[in-house]
Symmetry: C2
Subunit: 393 residues, 2 copies
């Protein structure tokens, strides 16, 4: 059976009425918080319907669980500036704004500060500002507010139409008779190592839900267009369409590795999936986490409610003459051609088409085509256009 919602039931947050809200104190939010609001609104972060407070954040940092015991590995925080925090008191209503647009109405429950050194150590395992997630959160200061969100307006129409609706997705799974669905998260165009994971998922469960993460990028990342459209080409040519569903998730990566892997699982559990592929160095960045750190951390939890799928890193093995991994290949390293982000990015930089055992030619060609056309020039999310043939409609 497809997974129940995390914590039991779906959260739905209504729109808020705009009238008479301009007199309330304002909090300016950034793109990451804007995206978090779109996830909260549609229930992908169920059972959460608010930004979390001090005690909850501390418990999560220490235990990877909410105070009620539910698995939850990263606090969902609303940062405020010192100036903002002077304008309201606990119990006040306040409005959240992105740029000049009113996005949400919230009742302040608590103003608090965190020891960000301890926080980063616990959540990211590092305080180095070379870590993009650490750098981003440290720039926001150490002041936060918690509170019940009374309404959210989807400022960005793309956010509202592009986040997958959990109820609709569950309806689709039920209609198709899927009892088990493996979710696959990605931030890259598919190479043959990814395909190996997809095919294992399609052999071992009823369906594959490919859920590329679109949203803010770090330098060197593939664009949302490149990721999503290359997946459309790939799905069209190489995967069984009746059992593969492709939908994006708008989400701001924090690159917290093991801790973030659990959040990725919870979001896909809320989307009805029963299995989730934990990749090599899942949600990691640079060399901050070991290749199997997420696997080890996830394994310490038995009650997430969605099954982690651990597969070792895939590679092409010349002796096997096929894509393989250390679970099935007995050959030594000299036979193995590993997939690497750097190698793939270089292939595009120098327009050297990858070998067929590295990446399907159609995928390479689609990305080259996008790079030589205007379609790939969007830089911010609110200008993103993706030609979605949405299976939920």
């Amino acid at each position: 059976m497809i997974s129940p919602y995390h914590g039991g039931s779906r959260v739905k947050i209504p729109n808020c009425k705009i009238e008479n809200l301009n007199i309330l104190p304002k909090i300016q939010i950034d793109e990451q918080t804007l995206i978090t609001l779109s996830l909260l609104k549609i229930g992908i972060l169920s059972p959460l319907d608010s930004f979390q407070g001090y005690e909850e954040a501390m418990e999560i940092s220490r235990e990877g669980r909410m105070e009620n015991g539910l698995v939850w590995s990263m606090p969902v925080l609303l940062p405020v500036t010192d100036e903002e925090s002077y304008t309201f008191s606990e119990g006040d209503e306040t409005t959240l704004h992105f740029s000049d647009k009113l996005v949400a109405l919230m009742k302040i429950e608590e103003k608090f500060s965190l020891d960000m050194y301890e926080y980063c150590n616990r959540i990211f395992g590092t305080t180095s500002i070379d870590h993009p997630g650490v750098k981003a959160i440290l720039q926001k200061g150490n002041k936060f507010v918690s509170g019940h969100i009374k309404g959210i307006n989807n400022y960005n129409t793309h956010f509202s139409t592009m986040q997958p609706d959990p109820d609709k997705l569950r309806g689709l799974f039920n209609k198709k008779g899927f009892k088990t669905v493996t979710a696959f998260q990605t931030r890259n165009p598919p190479h043959r190592g990814h395909e190996f994971l997809h095919k294992y998922s399609l052999l071992s469960t009823d369906a594959l839900f490919i859920n590329p993460v679109l949203g803010p990028k770090k330098s060197g990342d593939f664009s949302d267009q490149e990721i999503f459209q290359s997946y459309q080409v790939y799905l069209d040519k190489y995967l069984p369409k009746q059992r593969t569903i492709l939908l994006p998730l708008i989400y701001a990566m924090q690159y917290a590795g093991p801790r973030e892997a659990i959040m990725h699982m919870i979001m896909r559990k809320n989307l009805g999936c029963t299995h989730f592929v934990i990749g090599r160095d899942h949600a990691g960045v640079g060399s901050f986490y070991g290749p199997y750190a997420a696997r080890d951390y996830v394994s310490t939890f038995t009650d997430i409610g969605i099954e982690p799928v651990f597969l070792k890193e895939a590679y092409y093995c010349k002796a096997c003459t096929e894509i393989s991994n250390d679970d099935i290949c007995p050959h030594d390293d000299s036979q193995k051609s590993h997939f690497s982000g750097t190698k793939i990015r270089d292939a595009f930089l120098h327009k050297r088409e990858p070998y067929p055992y590295e990446m399907r030619g159609e995928i390479y060609n689609k990305i080259i085509e996008l790079r030589s056309s205007k379609q790939n020039t969007v830089e911010t999310l609110d200008k993103l256009e993706i030609n979605l043939s949405n299976p939920l409609e």
Copy 2:
């Protein structure tokens, strides 16, 4: 955890003392019964410690279960001739002989006859003597005896040393920390379609137990030497040795398709395995059963105590450029090169080396080498020599 014995505990049947047994009435047994005795003795047919009687045989024929409800799909019968049956009464002790050797001591419990037309229809789904299993059993008449087996002497030393010892195998699984083991039964040298199943098994469970069935053949079958030695070459070159165990099972196929698939599962459950691969047309012959008949029948039982692994038929797909099956490949039939026993046998007949995507070259070469040497000329089981590097010793 590795599987408990079917019915709860292992049966062990002692040797019987030879003295003073020559005065007892004699039953002449054939090779199939000799093999059954070796399986009974070592506990692979646990909880069975006797040949089954009329009511048990009828219940099994009707329900696929023993009278106590335990899943058991094919009666284990001891056929006797009319002449033999006149020489003893119920309650008598009798000796079982293969050729001129005393093999077992049994106390007769029941003499009975079966409606062989009904029996064949229920067990084989046919009464056609074109079916080798039907033909074999009809040649034995319709008279049987049941009885408690008081002792078995292993006439054929190969039987005693080659049947895998369930306790030793379980000990090996435990020592290696395997919690899940997929058993793979085969009567053929491995082609790439088999390899696809092996690799899926190694990805989805802790270990793979390759358990080729050696024993009586039908015409056109590969010899025991060819099957076993080609697997040794294959294991050495292409599979992870620490997680793959290769041991033969001496067993006389009855080609009963769906019914026999269940017996294959029970034997591997007794050997400690947790999963068992149900192949295409498993244990079938000719076109008596559909390709997925075993799958359908096995699926009607939920309490066998060993998990069936159903994978659709593998093939090489030119568009995927790899081994695939209908669970993962979206292409049309024109792209697919299917594996077939006939094609493989023809390759050897005409000494045309199969394509690398059909069979590994080392396997082809090993069989060609065996066919051009004297090693492959043994025709009966008691002359079979297999160079076993037995992982259980």
